[in-house]
Symmetry: C2
Subunit: 376 residues, 2 copies
């Protein structure tokens, strides 16, 4: 139940077990093209998809160095580790970064974003971390941003790491120019492949203004793909096989069904764990449907709790990030998550708390969760 | 018989089949520390090893952006695709690049390198591509460079992609400050992990002068490793398991034995294929012991030859790079390469040439190769 790397289905793991091939061969073209086309379906985009052999951070950095030049003005909401990192990368690229800072667990409101656009007519791009994995906080007005970016042709970039594939994301319809995720999150593939999708407008800009770097230079990827459906550098072949199979799993289930499953499971987790006596970290209107962050009860020690949960009940959850270390723990609700995982997690957390001397009402909590899961 | 990705032993492939773990857990620390320590043994270095989730090019770029600043003077021999790319990256980093250019298949002589040092007392670093995979050309005076770099404390960086693990490389003894490779070459692991080893002097410089980038910022990797033996970003877990197992394979065989095997196999390939009537592309004193590049015979069409070899005899070799496309083909002699691979490759190439109407003397060629392989 980690917020990434998540469990990988057996058939996806097995796909890795393919002998090495020449990445300049027809066999590779078939593999890569297939993976690229599936990615575009999941992002609901007719843009160009590049599958980077790197972690999600690599894809996020690629979005910065290919689009942002010295002096560009960029608006970004900041409320946690990953949005902070992204703002840092934008500053390193020389951007004039307008940070809409809020407390962790809260989001800048749409009106605050709108005001930032009103006060900065010359903004080159709006960047946002859709789902702040470090705090289980999710922005819920992505569909409304395009009216703001349209005003002066700003670019709209969504860091969708940890959430694309688990929540509704019609990228083209929402007017998003660039978006990315990491394979080890809601895609339920192993870590190491990170897709970035770029629409024609942003692609043209990147081709005309290539950065002075090699590995994350997207114009180079576009060129190799157009010429031969190759990647410029040797790709992580076993992970690409796994990634393609993970895309097959997603498309076979169907995006709508998959998103509904994530929503219902997170609803059940929030309700069940609240009934146990835990409180979600994120404000109610900002709660993520893929990462459930919870405040530790008074005196509950992080390491002891997570070790007991892992060793006695074989359930892995993650600790807090940065200065939330020891104050929250995070439950992933991603990828393969289903009825079984939700019930087992609530039960295991309840039992662990009982073992550690807290009085919980697990039976009631399980009943509440079960009820929520009925619509699955 | 590709010059990467090379065949991966079954036990290394199987290592990938491990369930996902938390990359902030003790399980991960055990895996990563083990892989790091083995890497240092293979590089024969007491420096710091970072295992990047990226292709070899990513590790090469990391060596540039962490060490080279605007205006730095750098000497680099250039004689092919990869040394050209590296020179390009150095220029992008703002370096004043002194290129010692030679024809593909030839190397700058040691005296030319020495003259460049003599004429540029203020040189900050010497970079070289040890084994130019695109042409099967290898520099053979790496052990002598340290006398030159020592003169004014220049840094010495070896791009060892495709050769480390297949040739003798006592990094510390040779005074190399930074070196890297890709897992899919002589290490016989799947592509996607690229180790970079940095000695204390270069590490200190990188920590004191971190680049304004995220994913390839080595000071960040040093910090995470020192604090918790973690990586800053989610690593490609299945590939790390495979990589560690590949390191075990290497250390079990023993470096000396492994290097001897590579040398004997390449000697047998050069001799056998020459007896067939093919001529090596690289000049005799510059021939690589891990990539054997051969000129096509007059009229021999690249695609037809390689397709026949692949489809009729199940032997994969690679074509030429850039403007050598159609003019040479390349046989990898890396990783698992042994008696069996050499004999089968010579036999298959001979038969393919026969099928395509060339008169070859395969029997004689096989006898010559067999003779060379006797010392294995």
């Amino acid at each position: 139940m980690l917020p990434g790397p998540t469990n990988v289905p057996e058939r996806v793991m097995r796909a890795m077990f393919t002998p090495m091939i020449n990445h300049r061969s027809d066999d590779f073209v078939e593999l890569y093209e297939d993976a690229v086309e599936s990615t575009k379906k999941v992002f609901q985009s007719n843009g160009e998809a590049v599958l980077l052999s790197a972690s999600g951070t690599g894809a996020v950095e690629a979005s910065v160095i290919n689009l942002i030049k010295n002096g560009d003005k960029v608006i970004i909401p900041v409320n946690g580790e990953f949005s902070g990192r992204l703002a840092q990368m934008l500053e390193w690229a020389g951007a004039n970064v307008i940070k809409l800072e809020t407390k962790p667990g809260e989001n800048a409101t749409f009106d605050q974003v709108k005001a930032a656009f009103d006060n900065n007519k010359d903004v080159k791009a709006f960047y946002c971390v859709w789902n702040e994995t470090s705090t289980g906080t999710m922005i819920k007005y992505l569909d409304k941003i395009k009216d703001l970016t349209a005003r002066n042709d700003s670019y709209y970039v969504v860091d969708g790491v940890s959430i694309v594939g688990g929540e509704e994301f019609p990228m083209d319809k929402w007017g998003v120019d660039v978006a990315m995720t990491g394979a080890q999150k809601a895609f339920a593939a192993p870590p190491g492949i990170s897709p970035i999708v770029v629409n024609p407008r942003a692609k043209k800009y990147m081709e005309q203004n290539p950065p002075k770097t090699m590995y994350f230079n997207l114009s180079r990827y576009f060129k190799y793909y157009e010429e031969a459906k190759h990647t410029p550098f040797t790709p992580a072949l076993p992970l690409l096989y796994a990634y393609r199979e993970a895309m097959n799993v997603i498309l076979e289930e169907g995006l709508d069904k998959r998103i509904r499953r994530h929503r219902i499971c997170s609803d059940a987790l929030y309700s069940g764990l609240s009934a146990i006596g835990l409180t979600p970290f994120a404000k109610e209107d900002a709660r993520s449907t893929v990462v459930v962050a919870l405040n530790y009860l008074e005196g509950l020690e992080d390491k002891t709790f997570r070790n007991t949960l892992a060793n006695k009940f074989r359930v892995l959850v993650a600790g807090g990030f940065g200065n939330l270390k020891g104050k929250v723990f995070r439950v992933g609700c991603m990828g393969e998550v289903h009825r079984y995982h939700v019930m087992r997690t609530i039960s295991a957390i309840g039992s662990t708390l009982d073992m550690m001397g807290y009085k919980t009402n697990s039976v009631e909590a399980l009943k509440i969760a079960e009820d929520k899961l009925k619509s699955l």
